[in-house]
């Protein structure tokens, strides 16, 4: 049916227009040899011979600095690993904070749920930048938190919180928490309460019910929330620049610097392409191996 094909076609068209096409442009630039030119959009084909010339050095230089450098001992590899590590920490923190919250939300009376959900979304109504700046005000040496601690006599002098790992992780988990809560909520609200009662009936304590029934059955929500937090966090630029320390160079910042300070677009795009590969390849493997499990009904009603 043409109508049906059209309906399915629309999202594909969108994906191609807004995802695949920009990615192909990135991929193209990442192989360009810019030379001393200021303009990155150069042909990949030699003007005289018509030969395809790809500058692989844009990639290889990410892993080895200079001719004699040790493999993988570059600031880029370091920034990648650091980004993945902080994204992982953020996702774990969001899961630890978000799961009880989503569980509480899903178990609350249906009449109060819209109001509670609204409160999850409410921060989105104010500027993201303002909210991150607000954390600066809270975490600064003369900020609300330190003032409070000193007033209570819990510390004699201000504790350095801002521009550390702590402030960066606080900021990132704060901003990304709703992306964990919402998919978890959507999953937990569908959880059949009778399954929990059946487990109780068979002698499981409330805690055992949670670990043996609730958590395994919300696996899809946990994975979705984890991905939604982890993936954007890897490339996060604004929060680390505003709240993180100077030594916490993350890959988003490196891409920015290559693009706008070094004006080395091919290297910046190569970094970006690699980042996508780092995220997409494990994801693709995951989906390939767990497709059978994912196709199973999570909740039978």
């Amino acid at each position: 049916m043409p109508g049906r094909r059209f309906v399915i076609g629309v999202p594909y068209f969108w994906l191609i227009l807004f995802f695949l096409l920009p990615f192909l442009i990135l991929l193209y630039i990442s192989f360009v040899d810019m030379g001393n030119d200021i303009h990155p959009f150069k042909s990949l084909w030699d003007a005289q011979t018509g030969e395809l010339k790809l500058k692989y050095a844009n990639y290889s230089s990410l892993f080895r600095s200079g001719e004699d450098g040790e493999l993988f001992e570059t600031m880029y590899v370091e920034a990648y690993l650091r980004s993945l590590w902080y994204a992982l920490c953020t996702a774990v923190l969001c899961l630890l904070m978000g799961y009880p919250f989503a569980y509480f939300l899903a178990r609350s009376a249906p009449s109060v749920r819209p109001a509670l959900l609204m409160m999850v979304m409410l921060p989105f109504w104010t500027s993201f930048l303002l909210r991150v700046y607000a954390w600066k005000g809270i975490l600064a040496d003369q900020g609300v938190l330190n003032q409070g601690l000193m007033f209570l006599g819990l510390s004699a002098e201000p504790i350095q919180l801002l521009y550390t790992d702590v402030s960066m992780l606080v900021g990132m988990s704060y901003v990304y928490l709703p992306f964990m809560v919402l998919p978890l909520y959507a999953n937990l609200v569908k959880l059949d309460v009778r399954l929990l009662e059946a487990a109780r009936d068979l002698g499981a304590s409330p805690w055992t019910v949670f670990w043996l029934i609730t958590v395994p059955l919300s696996r899809a929500g946990i994975i979705a929330g984890f991905m939604l937090v982890f993936i954007p966090c890897v490339g996060e630029f604004v929060i680390p620049s505003l709240l993180g320390g100077p030594e916490n160079l993350m890959i988003g910042r490196v891409v920015w610097d290559e693009m706008f300070i070094s004006n080395n677009w091919p290297r910046a795009t190569a970094l970006a392409v690699l980042m996508i590969a780092v995220i997409v390849i494990p994801l693709a493997i995951y989906y390939y191996y767990f497709n059978g499990a994912a196709a199973e009904p999570e909740n039978e009603s």
Binding site: R194, A199, D201, L202, G203, A204, N299, E300
Partner: protein
């Protein structure tokens, strides 16, 4: 009454009340179930039968009253510590665990040694004949098989009391009859005391030795299927169990071994006395459709012969069903067994017919 016999009293509820925000879901229910008995709670949805069951399981806390099982008070014991297991409506099998794990779930919580769990799950799989399916997931099984897994899971811990919540509700009609017998056989084989909740009177009558009919949180009558059908205590029970025609009227004759009521179609004679009856008190005479005869010619009986007009005829294969409009306009349900292969008993719509019944067929109802 049957509920005062010698075996009764294993499961006892005393004036059990459940109050949901001012609405009485269960209203002073006192029941007594004997050890090894299959007892049914029958009623339409919202009658409180499910709330009663949930209180027995421990998921709802009674507002007042007592639950005693083998003399032990259950009210304060949380559900996971009660020696009671439930087979849930549409089974509530754990979708992420295979059949073996589903059945072993309760045994593992008891902390039994591995070998014993292995052995008892094996026994349960034998009992419900699902040995070949141990490694399947619930959604890979048919509805009937899932039902047997649910039964095995609820029996695995050898509960003192088994609760069945609409055990056959999720099955289609054909499968239901066959499954019913299997279910009863297995329960009797195990010998566990059992309370079944159902809205299906046939299911209750087939499975249970006694039935409590519930309406609006109250138990209206407890009795064997025969007692409920032949001697209903109230209009509600007479109407709820099986099909019936109620003739409303007042008591016109009240003697020791017979009575009569004056109704819209005339005086109806009943072959037994009403204890504590008073002349001219309002009563209803209930008559089951299969106990009423129908013919075009006047029958050779003298009592309870009335006249009417055939309004509806339905052919059900095993029997024919008629609705006859009586002289006062009331509609009388009559069924006639289809003993010989005949065409609808030779009746047509609008035929003028006689209908009659024996004076022992009618039941006098006061409530």
């Amino acid at each position: 009454m049957a509920d005062k016999d010698a075996t009764a009293g294993y499961l006892v509820t005393e004036k059990l009340i459940k109050n949901f925000d001012g609405a009485l879901a269960v209203d002073e229910v006192s029941l007594s179930v004997g050890q090894g008995e299959i007892f049914a709670l029958l009623g339409s949805s919202g009658c409180g039968k499910s709330t009663l069951l949930r209180m027995l399981a421990g998921f709802d806390v009674p507002s007042a009253g007592q639950i005693l099982l083998g003399g032990q008070d259950m009210v304060r014991i949380p559900p996971h510590q009660r020696p009671i297991n439930m087979m849930f409506q549409s089974y509530a099998l754990f979708p992420h665990l295979d059949i073996w794990e589903n059945i072993a779930f309760g045994l593992k919580r008891e902390g039994l040694p591995k070998a014993e769990i292995q052995q008892r799950v094996g026994e349960m799989l034998d009992l419900v004949q699902l040995n070949d399916y141990a490694k399947r997931k619930p959604h890979q099984l048919s509805g009937g098989q899932q039902q047997r897994v649910a039964l095995a899971r609820s029996l695995a811990k050898r509960p003192k009391l088994l609760l069945l919540d609409e055990p056959l509700g999720a099955l289609d009609k054909k499968l239901r009859e066959q499954t019913q017998f299997e279910l009863v056989n297995i329960i009797k084989q195990v010998g566990v005391t059992c309370v079944v909740v159902t809205h299906d009177q046939e299911e209750a009558m087939n499975m249970a030795s006694r039935i409590a009919v519930m309406n609006r949180g109250r138990v209206l009558q407890v009795g064997t299927p025969e007692v409920l059908y032949e001697h209903p205590a109230s209009r509600f029970v007479a109407d709820f169990i099986g099909s019936v025609t109620l003739f409303e009227g007042w008591l016109s004759v009240d003697e020791r071994d017979s009575c009569a009521a004056m109704t819209g179609i005339g005086e109806i004679k009943v072959g037994y006395g009403v204890s504590g009856g008073m002349l001219s008190m309002p009563v209803a005479i209930a008559v089951r459709p299969e106990k009423i005869g129908i013919s075009k010619t006047r029958p050779a009986v003298s009592k309870n012969v009335f006249f009417g007009k055939v309004q509806e005829i339905s052919y059900f294969g095993a029997y024919n069903s008629y609705i006859v409009t009586a002289s006062d306009g009331s509609q009388v349900k009559i069924t006639e067994a289809n003993a010989s292969r005949q065409d609808l008993g030779g009746f047509k719509r609008e035929d003028r017919v006689f209908f009659w019944w024996d004076d022992h067929a009618g039941v006098v109802l006061r409530d």
